[in-house]
Symmetry: C2
Subunit: 219 residues, 2 copies
């Protein structure tokens, strides 16, 4: 495998993916995270810790204009977070308009500048109902665009695109991922709120694996 | 026409395009510019002046991470600017990796947040040889991606994609564009350098229209 870059949110999916890439023998993985004015920075702190645990280069890029100009309940200035199941229609309030294309396009510019050719991102099957920029059609369009945006082609890998969260948790358990150092809750309290869509989906994924979420037991 | 947003660099092409859109009857055009660590800010100053002249909303978004992390002769920290014709191979040193996708993706997020549905950018035919992210294939891929990135579809318009710069100058002359308030030179001196590819192409475009460039005569 060639020199690779991963968009590491500090959530469960991209963290398992980073472990997965290294387990497959990639020696030159680096990670990038984005601070786009989310309601909290717990996820970004987890991203930094996971990168340190994995011994990979990591940087966090600030995108303050998103927090200032964009409209989403996921942002500090946004509305109150909706409660319910991750795939419920009211979760669409948490879409940050075009967030993933922005992150992918910046990561691509960094990858090209560092002579990297492989870009990984952790969209998964559960994201499709709510997040338009996690759908397979969007991923296909981005794969095409990333082959054309520079004289150096960038290959986009989204290996969990059809997997549900339970399968990703199972995979992470096999890889020895420390899930206590991943953050999924949309809110940024001392403990996960347990009520937002993201918490509900995570709890279901651990339950299906018949494993306790160490993030909950450690707090 | 619906509510539209234009990426306005302050160069000649996007400035003519802004005038063009308004001349076609668009009432709710807004403009966005990007400060990505270019060697100078003369172009951005022109963008602000043109937006004021046109009476349209305008904002400049800072992307300091490009200047810090990306590799290009167009950036402050980059190598010396190459000299020659705009379409010469050495001009590829001035590519800022994936710059246009980054600008398009951010502009799209803003457009969606403001309930705009039309996005304009001023890539032209002369750009194709050097700038991969101005080529028709790239534009087509981006058009597809922008139809899928959000639940609200964004339509990308690149009306000068097949036009040469002489045709754009002609169009601008007919529209009464003040070309003294546009900046094209890659360098940021008191006067255009006259030697970089961008200056050479601009001079050729005015010469083909048998008109003196007012930017040169006014200085």
């Amino acid at each position: 495998m060639k020199r690779a870059l991963i968009i590491l949110s500090g959530g469960l999916d991209s963290t398992v993916l980073a472990h997965d890439i290294l387990a497959r023998g990639e020696k030159q993985l680096a990670a990038v995270s984005f601070d786009y004015g989310q309601k909290h920075t717990r996820e970004l702190e987890c991203a930094a810790r996971q990168a340190a645990l994995l011994g990979i280069e990591h940087q966090t890029i600030a995108l303050p204009f998103i927090g200032e100009l964009f409209d989403s309940a996921l942002l500090k200035k946004g509305d109150e977070l909706p409660k319910g199941h991750y795939e419920d229609d009211n979760m669409k309030q948490t879409v940050v308009p075009n967030r993933n294309m922005i992150m992918l396009s910046i990561a691509t510019g960094i990858a090209i500048s560092q002579q990297r050719t492989e870009l990984f991102y952790g969209a998964h099957g559960g994201d499709h109902a709510i997040y338009p920029d996690c759908r397979p059609d969007f991923v296909e369009a981005m794969k095409s665009a990333l082959q054309l945006c520079d004289w150096q082609k960038i290959k986009l890998h989204v290996p969990y695109l059809q997997d549900d969260k339970a399968k990703i948790v199972k995979h992470g358990l096999n890889l020895g991922v420390d899930f206590a150092q991943t953050w999924t809750c949309y809110a940024g309290g001392a403990h996960p709120c347990g009520k937002c869509g993201s918490c509900v989906e995570r709890a279901q994924a651990f339950a299906l694996n018949k494993v306790k979420d160490p993030l909950l037991t450690s707090q």
